[in-house]
C-alpha cells in the first residue's frame, strides 16, 4: 500500500481494523475521540462491533467480556478515562484474556487539560491497578510506528493472553504525517476462536474466565504463573531504537514524542560537534534495562527527556546504577518541549563533562 497522510487517531483505529479487530468499545475523550468516531463509522460498515459505552468503566468491562469470548478487541481513551479502567485492567490480567488499549495521554492530574503529556508513565508502566502485574507497554513516536505497534499489540496480547497498552501522548493522536496502513487481515471465524474462550460448552467441558483464587496458596501459584509470563515477556519483547549512539559521550533516553524532539536536538548537537546519541525505548515494559546499562558503561552522562516531571528516569537510574550521572529535562502540563530546549540541555550536560582523560 502507498503512504497516506494520516492523523494518528485515525491511523491506529484503522490499523486495528486491518489487524482483525472485531470489536471496539469506547467512550469519547479528547484527544483520542477521533479514533472512536472512526470506529463508529468503519466497524458497522464492515459488519463488526462498535459500541459507545456509557463510561470508561463500562467500556473496559465490555472489552473484558468480548475478550473472554475470544475475539480481537480494543478500546482507547486518554488519561482520566484510563484511570477509570484500572480495576478492569487488573481483572483482565487476573483472567488472562488478551486486550489492546490505546492511551493517548493528556495533561494532568485531575481534569487537567487536553494537551500532549507523558504524565501517566507510572500509572501504565508500573501498574496503576491493584495487584502484581505490569502490562506490556509500547510507545510509538511516529504515525507509522503507531500503526505498526497497534497491529503488533494484538499479536502480543494473544501470544501472552495479556493486556497490551499502546501509550502515546496527545500529539501522537493529533499529528498528521505520511504512513502506510497494513493490508486488511480477515477477522477470525467464530469457529476459530481460542480453545479457552467462552463460546458455549459444546462438546467440551465448560470454560471459565475468572480472576478469583480464594485460597492464598492457589492465588500465589497464579501469581507465579503471571511472573513467569512476565519473565518470558522481559526475555523476548524488549524493543528500542538507537540514533547516533556510535561513539557518543552523552546518551539521551526519551520515548514517544519526547524521543522525536530529542532526535532533532541530537541532530543539531551533532552539527555542533557534540557527540550525543539517542536511545528511544519503544517497549516501556519490558524496559530496555539491559541496553541502558550497556550504554552506561560507554557514555559519560545520560540525559532523560520526558513530557512529565520525571518518571521513566527512575527506570533509567535503575539500569545505570550510579555508573554515570543521569540528568533530567522535563516539561509538564501539556507543554511539548522544543528541540531548542533539549539542545540547550545537551550543551549544559556537555559542558559539565570532565575534560577527556
Amino acid at each position: 500500500m502507498a503512504k497516506e497522510l494520516l492523523k494518528g487517531n485515525i491511523a491506529f483505529a484503522e490499523a486495528a481494523i486491518r489487524a482483525g479487530c472485531e470489536a471496539y468499545f469506547g467512550y469519547p475523550i479528547t484527544p483520542q475521540t477521533e479514533a472512536l468516531e472512526h470506529m463508529s463509522k468503519r466497524m458497522p460498515e464492515l459488519g463488526r462491533v462498535f459500541l459507545q459505552a456509557e463510561s470508561e468503566v463500562a467500556a473496559i468491562n465490555m472489552v473484558y467480556g468480548a475478550a473472554s469470548a475470544g475475539v480481537r478487541v480494543m478500546t482507547s481513551s486518554s488519561s482520566p478515562g484510563v484511570s477509570l479502567m484500572m480495576e478492569g485492567l487488573s481483572y483482565i490480567v487476573g483472567s488472562e484474556v488478551p486486550v489492546v488499549l490505546v492511551d493517548i495521554m493528556r495533561g494532568g492530574p485531575g481534569l487537567g487539560n487536553i494537551a500532549p503529556s507523558q504524565g501517566d508513565y507510572n500509572q501504565i508502566v508500573k501498574g496503576g491497578g491493584h495487584g502484581d502485574y505490569r502490562p506490556i507497554v509500547l510507545a510509538p513516536a511516529t504515525v507509522q510506528e503507531l500503526i505498526d505497534l497497534t497491529v503488533e499489540a494484538f499479536d502480543l496480547a494473544e501470544k501472552y493472553r495479556y493486556i497490551v497498552v499502546v501509550l502515546a501522548d496527545g500529539s501522537m493522536g493529533q499529528i498528521m504525517e505520511p504512513a502506510e496502513l497494513p493490508p486488511m487481515k480477515p477477522v477470525r471465524k467464530p469457529e476459530e476462536r481460542p480453545a479457552w474462550a467462552l463460546t458455549g460448552a459444546k462438546g467440551r467441558d465448560p470454560n471459565v474466565i475468572t480472576s478469583i483464587y480464594i485460597d492464598p496458596a492457589v492465588e500465589e501459584e497464579f501469581n507465579l504463573k503471571l511472573k513467569a509470563k512476565q519473565e518470558r515477556i522481559e526475555a523476548n519483547e524488549v524493543r528500542y531504537k538507537e540514533i547516533a549512539l556510535e561513539e557518543a559521550e552523552i546518551a539521551i533516553v526519551a520515548f514517544g514524542t519526547a524521543g522525536r524532539v530529542a532526535q532533532s536536538a541530537v541532530k543539531a548537537a551533532r552539527e555542533e560537534g557534540i557527540r550525543v546519541g539517542l536511545l528511544r525505548p519503544i517497549s516501556l515494559y519490558p524496559y530496555p534495562y539491559h541496553r541502558v546499562r550497556e550504554l552506561a558503561s560507554k557514555v559519560k552522562a545520560m540525559l532523560v527527556v520526558e513530557m512529565n516531571g520525571g518518571q521513566m528516569v527512575e527506570d533509567v537510574r535503575l539500569a545505570v546504577e550510579g555508573r554515570v550521572p543521569v540528568h533530567f529535562y522535563g516539561r509538564m502540563g501539556g507543554v511539548v518541549p522544543l528541540p531548542e530546549e533539549v539542545l540547550d540541555e545537551i550543551r549544559k550536560v556537555h559542558s559539565g563533562l570532565a575534560v577527556p582523560a
Binding site: 503512504k3 497516506e4 497522510l5 479528547t30 484527544p31 487539560n113 487536553i114 500529539s171 493529533q174 499529528i175 498528521m176 504525517e177 505520511p178 514524542t257 522525536r260 524532539v261 530529542a262 532526535q263 532533532s264 536536538a265 541532530k267 511539548v336 522544543l338 528541540p339 531548542e340 530546549e341
Partner: protein, 184 residues
C-alpha cells in the same frame, strides 16, 4: 533541508485545512512532512494554529520554536509569531484583519488583503488559500501548481464545487505576492 511553516488565525478561518493542504502536497511530491495542530477544548471560536514541516529527510520534532515561515490571519497571531520567525524567514499577514505592519525588518514580509480577495473570487472563506498562494511565492518549497493538483486529489466530495475557486485563490495570492512588495 527542513522547512517549518506556522499557519495561525481564528478558528473558522481555515488555517488547519490550509496546513493540511500543504502536507498533502508534500506527500504527493515524495517529501517528508508533518502537520501538527493546536487544539482547544472548545468547539468554538478561539485561536487555532498548525505547524507544517516539509523536509527531504526524516522529521524529528513536529514543532519548533522558530519556524522558517509564518502565515498569520489575525492580529493575535501576528503578535505571537512575528517575533518567532527565523532570521530571514517569511511572514505573510492577512491585512484584511490586521491593521499594523510587521515590526521586524529582517523578514520577507508581505501584507495580503486575503478576505477581500477571497470575497472577490466569491467567498471570504477562500482567504486561507490566498494566503497559502502568497506564502509559496516567497517560500517556494512547493509550487502553486503542485498544491492545486493535490487539492484536486484530496478535496472532500462536498466541497468539490469550490475547487476552481480554491485554485483561483492560490493563484491570486501568488500573483499578489509576486507583484507587490511591502515595506516591512
Amino acid at each position: 533541508m527542513q522547512t517549518e511553516i506556522i499557519i495561525a488565525g481564528f478558528g473558522g478561518q481555515g488555517v488547519l485545512f490550509a496546513g493540511q493542504l500543504l502536507a498533502y502536497t508534500a506527500l504527493d511530491n515524495d517529501l517528508h512532512v508533518t502537520w501538527f495542530p493546536s487544539y482547544g477544548p472548545e468547539m468554538r471560536g478561539g485561536t487555532a494554529h498548525c505547524t507544517v514541516i516539509v523536509s527531504d529527510e526524516e522529521i524529528g520534532s513536529p514543532i519548533v520554536r522558530n519556524p522558517r515561515a509564518a502565515v498569520v490571519m489575525n492580529l493575535p497571531s501576528l503578535d505571537k509569531y512575528e517575533p518567532l520567525v527565523r532570521e530571514g524567514g517569511v511572514l505573510v499577514v492577512n491585512s484584511s484583519l490586521v491593521d499594523r505592519n510587521p515590526d521586524r525588518k529582517d523578514l520577507s514580509a508581505i501584507m495580503i488583503p486575503a478576505n477581500e480577495v477571497g470575497e472577490e473570487i466569491g467567498d471570504k472563506r477562500l482567504a486561507n488559500l490566498v494566503m497559502v498562494g502568497a506564502l509559496l511565492q516567497r517560500l517556494p518549497v512547493l509550487t502553486v501548481e503542485a498544491v492545486g493538483q493535490s487539492l484536486r486529489k484530496h478535496i472532500p466530495e462536498h466541497r468539490r464545487n469550490l475547487l476552481e475557486a480554491n485554485i483561483e485563490a492560490l493563484k491570486r495570492g501568488h500573483a499578489l505576492a509576486a507583484g507587490e512588495a511591502v515595506s516591512a
